[in-house]
């Protein structure tokens, strides 16, 4: 009887622990936007995919694994789009995606910060991306504004007409 009780208790405790560490898996919903802007050029990436595990009560178990399709870049100008995908800039044929995989998510002020590896143009660099998380009627919304220096990833030649620091604005509605 004692053994049964201990076994039962252990099962309850393990189940409770599992329940506390389960993190919500979110699917990216329609209506997302990834906008970038710098001197001389601005535009959007039309396609983003990936896995999002996030729970504001369980940041340690939360994780982002996101990929942005370079071939969906749209600057509003056909020639500029082609140029951006060329070997001189993103080299989309060789490096078709910008990837971000978080290693740590922490609370930062009113929002959060996801630290992880940002991979672009074949170069990986650790970055910390601030973001906010709001629950909505249909799911939730992640929003982030941050700057990326394109020279860190050797995207295009430094200087020139296009600014080095790219301002990125991400709005990511998600559903369960």
């Amino acid at each position: 009887m004692k053994k049964i009780f201990i076994g039962f208790s252990a099962t309850i405790i393990l189940a409770a622990m599992f329940a506390f560490t389960t993190v919500t898996s979110w699917k990216i919903a329609d209506g997302y936007s990834i906008v970038f802007a710098t001197n001389g050029v601005s535009g959007i990436f039309k396609n983003i995919s990936g896995n999002i595990l996030f729970d504001d009560q369980s940041l340690a178990a939360s994780k982002f694994d996101i990929a942005i399709d370079i071939n969906t870049i749209n600057t509003g100008n056909g020639m500029q789009n082609k140029h951006a995908k060329s070997a001189e800039w993103f080299d989309a044929a060789k490096y078709p995606a910008i990837k971000f995989t978080s290693t740590k998510i922490v609370k930062a002020g009113a929002g959060y910060a996801a630290t992880g590896l940002l991979q672009a143009h074949g170069i990986s660099k650790e970055v910390s991306l601030p973001f906010t998380f709001k629950k909505t009627t249909t799911g939730a919304l992640f929003e982030g504004n941050f700057n990326i220096n394109r020279n860190d990833f050797k995207i295009g030649a430094a200087g020139g007409e296009v600014g080095d620091v790219i301002k990125v604005t991400v709005s990511l509605p998600v559903i369960k």
């Binding site: 600057t75 509003g76 100008n77 056909g78 082609k82």
Partner: protein, 138 residues
């Protein structure tokens, strides 16, 4: 002379606008994109008529200065300016909501040559210019 040139400019501008609108419809039917938010029929008509009126005024001014060589210089200028006007079309930045900006030059570049084409087509009906060979063979 000036009134005839202005009339020629207005009519050739209208003809050019009609050609542009027809071309836009054919383009949309074949490629599925008409850029209607950017290239509006009303704007096409206004711009074409204004360019026709400018051409008429330009011809009149050139004729005051060059006399017999007006036709040659004017046609050359009209062709060169039409050609130069396509450059901004390639650099034009569309709203990012438009999925296929690479199709934009294919729509507007031919349109830039329609005013010159309409002018050259209609000019003999409005203005009889001096032809040197008429004197030679008279």
């Amino acid at each position: 002379m000036y009134k005839k040139l202005l009339l020629l400019g207005a009519v050739s501008g209208l003809l050019s606008a009609i050609a542009s609108i027809i071309y836009q419809k054919v383009y949309a039917a074949s490629l599925g994109e008409n850029f209607a938010l950017i290239v509006k029929p009303f704007n096409i008509i206004v711009i074409n008529i204004i360019s026709g009126l400018i051409a008429g005024t330009g011809f009149w001014l050139l004729n005051k200065w060059l006399r017999n060589n007006t036709e040659i210089v004017f046609n050359l200028l009209f062709a060169v300016l039409s050609f130069a006007s396509i450059v901004p079309a390639f650099g034009f930045r569309l709203p990012v909501t438009i999925e296929t900006p690479e199709l934009f030059p294919g729509l507007v570049v031919p349109m830039h040559f329609f005013p010159a084409l309409a002018w050259l087509t209609l000019k003999p009906l409005f203005v009889k210019t001096y032809q040197p060979y008429q004197k030679v063979f008279a």
